[in-house]
Amino acid sequence: MTAHTWSLLGLYLAVMLVTVKPMGICLDKVMNGEFRFGARVERPLFRLCGVHADEDMGWLKYAFAILLFNALGALAVYALQRLQAWLPLNPQAMAGVSADSSFNTAISFASNTNWQGYGGESTMSYLTQMLALTVQNFLSAATGIVVVIALIRGFARHSAAAIGNAWVDLTRITLYVLLPISVVYAVFLVGQGSIQNVAAYKDVATVEVTKYDAPKLDAAGQPVKDDKGEAVTEPAETRTQTLAMGPVASQEAIKMLGTNGGGFFNANSAHPYENPTPLSNFIQMLSIFLIPGGLCFTFGRMVGDTRQGWAVLAAMTVMFVGLAIAAMHFEQQGNPLLSQLGVDPLAGSMEGKEARFGIAESGLFATITTSASCGAVIAMHDSFTPLGGLVPLIGMHLGEVVFGGVGTGLYGMLVFAILAVFISGLMIGRTPEYLGKKIESFEMKMTSIAILMTPLLVLVGTAIAVLAADGRAGIANPGAHGFSEILYAFSSAANNNGSAFAGLSVNTPFYNTLLGIAMWLGRFGVIVPVLAIAGSLAAKKRLAVTEGTLPTHGPLFVALLVAIVLLVGLLNYVPSLALGPVIEHLQMTAGH
C-alpha cells in the first residue's frame, strides 16, 4: 500500500460518507410524499394509468405488483432483442439476438444483475440499448429501493395491515431521484469525454497499418476449421479502425447510480468512451454507493432513531474497508511469474488494467462494485492475482450486504440484523426484538429463506456446471482458476452482481439458461420473503424499550452484526474458496 493508495481510500470514504445524510433525507422525503412539486406531476400520471394513489397495499398485493411489473420488464427486453433487426435506431444492422441469449439478458437486466453474455457494441442496436436496457436500469433499481422502503415501513408502522403502494413508490423513486440525478450525471460524463450520439460507427484512417491473422471464411461466411477443429487464419492488414458509437453516457449514468453494472460496451467501465478520465472514475465509484449509503440514513430517519441507520452503515463500512485494503494490497504485489521474465515488479499486476486507473483505483473499484451488487468493472477480474480476485468473490459471498445494491443491500443487511438479534436473544434467554418489534417464528422462517437462497443457488449451480460437460467446456483458464471462473459466475448471477471472471464462455444455451434461472430466483426468491417480513412486522404492536432490551445502535451490536455476516458467509463458502483462489495462490507462491 503506497501513500497514494491510502489517500485515495481516505478521500473516497470521506466524500462518500458526506453524501449519506443529504441523500438519506432526500430519499425519505420523496418516498413519503413530502416532495410537493411531485404531487402536481404525478396526479395526472396516476389517473392516466389507473393507479389509486391513496390505496395502501398489504404485503402480498405489494409483492404481486412488483413481480408483475418486473415480469413485464423482462418480456419487453426479450422481445426488443429478438425483434431489433426490424426496428429503428439500428445503424449497424445488428441481427436479432438468439433466444437463449435474449432470455438470459432479459432476466439479467430485470433482476438488476446485468450479467452480460454478449458484447454490447457487437450485439445490441441503439434502440435495444435505450428502450430495453436503459429502461430496466431505472426500473430494476427502483424495484430494489421500493422493497427496502416497504420493509422499513414494516418496522416503522405498528398494528398496520399495509406497507405502501407499489405503483406510487416505483413512480416516485424513478421520476424524482433516479431520473434527475442521471441527467446531470450523464452530461458530466460527456464533459469528461463519454460519447452520446446515435450515429453509425465511424471509420478512421490510423497512423500505422495493422497486420493481423484474420479467420478464414468459406463461401457461406462461416469460419473454416482444420482437422483439429481449430479456426484457420490467414494474414491480413488494415489501416481502418472502426470506432463504435452510441448513446453511451445516458446509459452509463443510470448503470452506476442504480448499481446495475451492464456496460454499453463489452469492456464495461474500462472502455475509454464509458469512463474516460480518472475523475469520471472517481464519480462512478461514488455513485455506486450513493443510494445504498443514503438509504441507511433513510432507514434511521423513518424508524425514528437515526442512530439505528448509522449502526448499519458502520457495520457495512468496517467490512468494506477491510476488503478494499486487501484488494489494493494484493494487486500491488504483482505476479511473481512475470517478474521472473524481467517485468518490473514495482508496477503491480497490470494485466487486464488500464494505464489511467492503475493498481489503486482498479483494486478499489473492484471492491466497490462487488460489495455493492453493481458489477461494472474497470479491470478484468479474471486476470487479478489469486487473492486480489478472492476479494470480489467474498464481496458477493457475504450476500451483497456491504452497501450492496440499491435497496437490496440494506434489506439484505436488515435481514442479517434480524438474525443477529435472534441469536443474541437466544444467548441471553430473552424473546428477540428489533426496533420494538418482536421477532417470532414467521419472521425467522422468512429470514432463513432469504439468507439461504443465494448460497443454495451458488453452490448447487457451481456443482452442476462443474459436473456437466457443457459447463466445463466454457472454462478459459486451466487448473484451479477454471473452477474459480465457474464459482464466480454463479456467485455473480445468484447475488445479482453481474461482474465476471470473463474468460468463461457463457454465451451458450447451457450457461444462458442456468444462470438466467439463478438470477431470477436470487432476486425474487429474496424479495418475496423480505416483503413477507415487512407485512408481518407492520401488523405487530410496538414494544416499549425496557432495561432488558438489547440496544441495536451501539458498537456492540455493530460488532455482532459484522460477526454474523462474516460467519454465515464463511460457513457457506470456505470450502469452495479453498478449491479455487486459495489453491491458486499457493501454486503461485510455489512458482508454478
Binding site: 435505450m130 460527456v190 465511424k202 478520465t277 512475470l338 515488479p345 492503475g358 486476470s383 482458476h481 503461485m588
Partner: protein, 190 residues
C-alpha cells in the same frame, strides 16, 4: 389480481417512454449542444481526415513510434468494435508466453536496453483500447525511438515530459502519456 394488470401495463409503458426515449434524447440534445466534440468521439482530424480518437488507442509496431499497451481484442489488436481484455489468469501459461514474446520483441527492437520492462508495456489492457502508457513505459522506449529517427534522445525525453499528464487534480488516477498524441507530435517535429 386483475386490478393490478392495468396499472402495471400502463405504468410500465409510460416509464419506459420517459426513461428509454425522452431521457436519452434529452441527454443527447444537451451533450451535442454543450460538448459536441466529446459527444461524437473526441476525434483527431489531420488534413481534413479523421485519423483516430484521443480516447481510443491505436496499434503501433514501427520502432520509430512509441508502442502502446498490448491489446487482446480479436481479430486485430485495438479493434474498437469488440473491446475487452485477455482474461488470462495469473497462472495461465499462455499469459507468461505472451509476456515473454512481447519482451523479446521490445529487446529485439532495442538490443542495448537492459532496464527492467515496465509492466504496462507487456500486459494487455482491460479494454484493449487503452490510449495511454505509463511515463516509465514511454521512457523505456525513448532510446529506440530516438535511434530510429536519428534524433537526440534528450529531445525525445523532453517531448515525453511535455506529453506526460499528472494525476487528475493531483490525486485521481495515475500519471500517463497519450501514445497517439505523442506519436503525432513526433511526426510533426522530427
Amino acid at each position: 389480481m386483475k386490478s393490478l394488470l392495468r396499472p402495471a401495463l400502463s405504468l410500465f409503458v409510460l416509464l419506459s417512454l420517459i426513461t428509454g426515449l425522452a431521457y436519452p434524447v434529452l441527454v443527447t440534445g444537451v451533450a451535442q449542444a454543450l460538448f459536441p466534440d466529446a459527444a461524437n468521439g473526441s476525434l483527431v482530424v489531420k488534413d481534413g481526415q479523421a485519423i483516430g480518437s484521443r480516447l481510443i488507442g491505436q496499434n503501433f509496431n514501427d520502432p520509430k513510434y512509441f508502442w502502446g499497451r498490448p491489446s487482446a481484442t480479436a481479430p486485430m489488436p485495438y479493434n474498437a468494435t469488440s473491446s475487452g481484455g485477455s482474461n488470462l489468469g495469473p497462472l495461465n501459461p499462455a499469459l507468461a508466453d505472451a509476456v515473454k514474446g512481447r519482451i523479446a520483441a521490445l529487446r529485439a527492437a532495442d538490443p542495448g536496453n537492459t532496464a527492467p520492462v515496465p509492466a504496462d508495456l507487456v500486459t494487455a489492457s482491460a479494454s484493449g483500447l487503452d490510449p495511454h502508457i505509463s511515463p516509465a513505459a514511454a521512457r523505456y522506449q525513448a532510446g529506440r525511438v530516438a535511434h530510429a529517427r536519428n534524433v537526440d534522445p534528450a529531445v525525445v525525453g523532453k517531448l515525453i515530459d511535455q506529453y506526460t499528464e499528472g494525476r487528475q487534480w493531483g490525486v485521481f488516477g495515475e500519471p500517463r502519456v497519450n501514445v497517439l498524441a505523442l506519436n503525432l507530435a513526433l511526426d510533426t517535429y522530427h
